[in-house]
């Protein structure tokens, strides 16, 4: 969207509590929640039907929960640094969040390898298929968040830190989305461990 329209929208929506783009993100998050709800409901229904292979999910998945939770915290700290206009802290924390996020995806892949090494491949039974499908689809959404952080990194290292409304909005959107994929994984890991 070009800047003039943005200004216009700002003028019209000044009295509104929430910025339209944030609302767009929240509404999109609702639809993503529906997508994962559908899959976990399908999981419950399918499991109740029998012929279900019980196995324990790889330990890496639990460790990884800490990794992504940590990245959420560091990104939040980066946001706080941005608001203080503390350039050094912002760059450091943003880079750390990016690295933790990337580490999460790599560790998920290792988790898959650990499963496959035990003979629990994606085809063996719907119970394993679901674990791959849920974690894979989640990882795809994490990649989207990593891409957003990558853009933020490029800007952080190429431009001087200035707390402009446009930059703050972009960072807030990234932060909200990242918290969402974090909470989504925590939900999925709790779901998967309680369901077996």
């Amino acid at each position: 969207m070009d800047t003039t329209i943005k200004k216009d929208m700002g003028a019209v929506t000044r009295h509104n509590k929430i910025h339209p783009k944030k609302l767009v993100l929240w509404v999109s998050i609702v639809s993503l929640v529906m997508m994962f709800t559908a899959l976990t409901s399908a999981y419950i229904v399918r499991r109740a039907a029998g012929n279900w292979l019980e196995f324990s999910i790889p330990t890496i998945f639990y460790v990884n929960t800490l990794v992504i939770a940590a990245s959420s915290i560091t990104l939040h700290a980066a946001y706080a640094a941005f608001k203080r206009e503390a350039a050094g802290a912002y760059k450091g924390l943003l880079s750390l969040s990016f690295l933790l996020g990337s580490a999460f995806v790599v560790l998920q892949l290792l988790g898959w390898e650990e499963m496959a090494a035990q003979g629990l491949d994606i085809k063996i039974n719907p119970s394993t298929s679901f674990v791959y499908a849920l974690s894979g689809l989640h990882a795809a959404h994490v990649l989207g968040g990593i891409a957003a952080m990558a853009v933020a990194l490029v800007i952080a290292f190429s431009q001087k830190l200035k707390r402009t409304p446009a930059r703050q909005l972009r960072l807030e959107l990234t932060l909200t989305y990242w918290h969402f994929v974090d909470i989504l994984w925590i939900y999925l890991i709790i779901f998967l461990s309680l369901q077996r």
């Binding site: 609302l23 509404v27 709800t37 559908a38 039974n125 719907p126």
Partner: protein
Amino acid sequence: MATAIFTPTTREEGLIQELGYDDHFHEHHHGDKYQSNFVSHYIFSMDHKMIAKQFLITGMMWAIIGGLMSLVFRMQLGFPEESLAWLKPVLGKWISVNADGIGTLQEDFYYALVTMHGTILVFFVLTAGLSGTFSNMLIPLMIGARDMASPLLNMLSYWFFFLSGLVMFSSLFLSTGPFAGGWVAYPPLSALPEAMDGSKAGMTLWTISLVFFVVSQLLGGVNYITTVLNLRTKGMTMWRLPLPIWAFFVTAIIGLLSFPVLVSAFFLLMLDRGIGTSFYLSDIYIGGQALDHVGGSPILYQHLFWFLGHPEVYIIILPAMGIVSEVLSVNARKPIFGYKAMVFSILAIAFLSFIVWAHHMFMSGVNPFIANFFVIFTLIIAVPSAVKVFNWIATLYGGSIRFNPASLFAIGFVSMFISGGLTGIWLGNSTLDIQLHDTYFVVAHFHIVMGVAAFFGMYSGVYHWFPKMYGRFMNETLGKFHFWGTLIGAYCVFWPMHYLGMAGVPRRYFRFDTFETFMHFAELNKFITIAAIITFGFQILFVINFFYSIWKGRKLTTMNPYKANTLEWTTPIETGHGNWPGKLPTVQRWSYDYGKDGRDFITQVEPIGENESAEH
């Protein structure tokens, strides 16, 4: 500056100038960016009005393709012995011509046609063509916004739809043919490429196309919701919104909650097809060979599919209902009867639409006790639906009705909705459904209540808002011919199907003349086919009228030709980007003050007078 040069020409423009809200929109030179260049104006447009026209015309093209497909399979059903060799130049190898020169339709392709007809009409025409057109056209104009919350996402929404259509269209030319397993794409047929030719590349393209389509719907829906919640002009409270906006808003919410579930269903289906998982597949034999898929459940897909599938019919019908409410009120010169009841019934229908999906699955082995739950909620939908029908009729009652094509189609909508709704009460009962399921009774029911009725709502909207879109009127006489031809034709096509269905004639069969039981319906099937061809002819009349009127129609000379109250008629005849040339209007009252205090109509920009009665 545009604001300074602008001089009001009408009373409404004067009111906007005086009471309006200056958002300094015209102080920026973005007009050039949106309007001057051919590509940015007509192709990659970010203006909501142009995007609406793109949706409409693309939808019309798909309607013609989908309609022609239905004529081909109707000819097969009505005249199974006649030669279809004359279709060979178009259909090629799908028509096999024997030594005597008699051409017959390939059985596989018959199923492909039925499948494509369903997919195209449900998704491309009645979802994208209907709600895409009118949500885009009317939301900003009716709520007093310059454009959508995100014009960019709006543009992407159209182009994802276009891409989706392109992929679907290309699947028609595959050597193995397009997907042929029914628009619901139930596994195992859809999950196993080896099951039939249509499940090979055709199914892959079908799935890709629909994923693009869902992306388009979500981008659009997110935008509609945000725009309605965030960009209403000053004074436009939710309770002052015209009913179409309520309908589009709730439709977008339903879409946003249900389409992702369809994506989930497709995601698992793709894993089954591509990677060899067994979410939906178990114990299947093809050609005597057992497949190694074990442990899946095809019913799981049906649950996920119908969790979208049922809300989808309300995604189709709610926008039509909203359009009809507005058109009836304007043309009856009366406020809509029971405005709040209309809104609450939209909300009730939306809520109920999420807890009735298994009524599509009474024959799939759903536990009868669970079926009872779905029967009860299905039948409860009759309550808000009846409230709406009552209110439309009460709106017409005692009105000085203008019979123009728009209002005729709106009245026709009510007729169709009643006829089709009543058979819904039959089918909603699981005990009756066991007899009627998968017969022509179901075909008749959903075509009338959802297909034809939604088309009537769409036509009503096109005739009504055509002057706002193109600055000209459509030809009224042709419009009336179109209406009567379509009304009578549609009843001739679908009414007899009820009798076929009650006699147990199954749907989706290639021919009936070889069955002793159904042979005596041959004449009735001929009648239906002829009626379908004639009805289709009347739609061509509409298409001709539409394109002729864009360039040659009677010109619009006043801003508010229907003497309507809503904000879109306070914009100039040639509505530019930003919709209002000066300030944004502020809203002083609700949108249905017709015949109040002896005045024919009072537009929404007019303040409440000192001596004016407070109630509507």
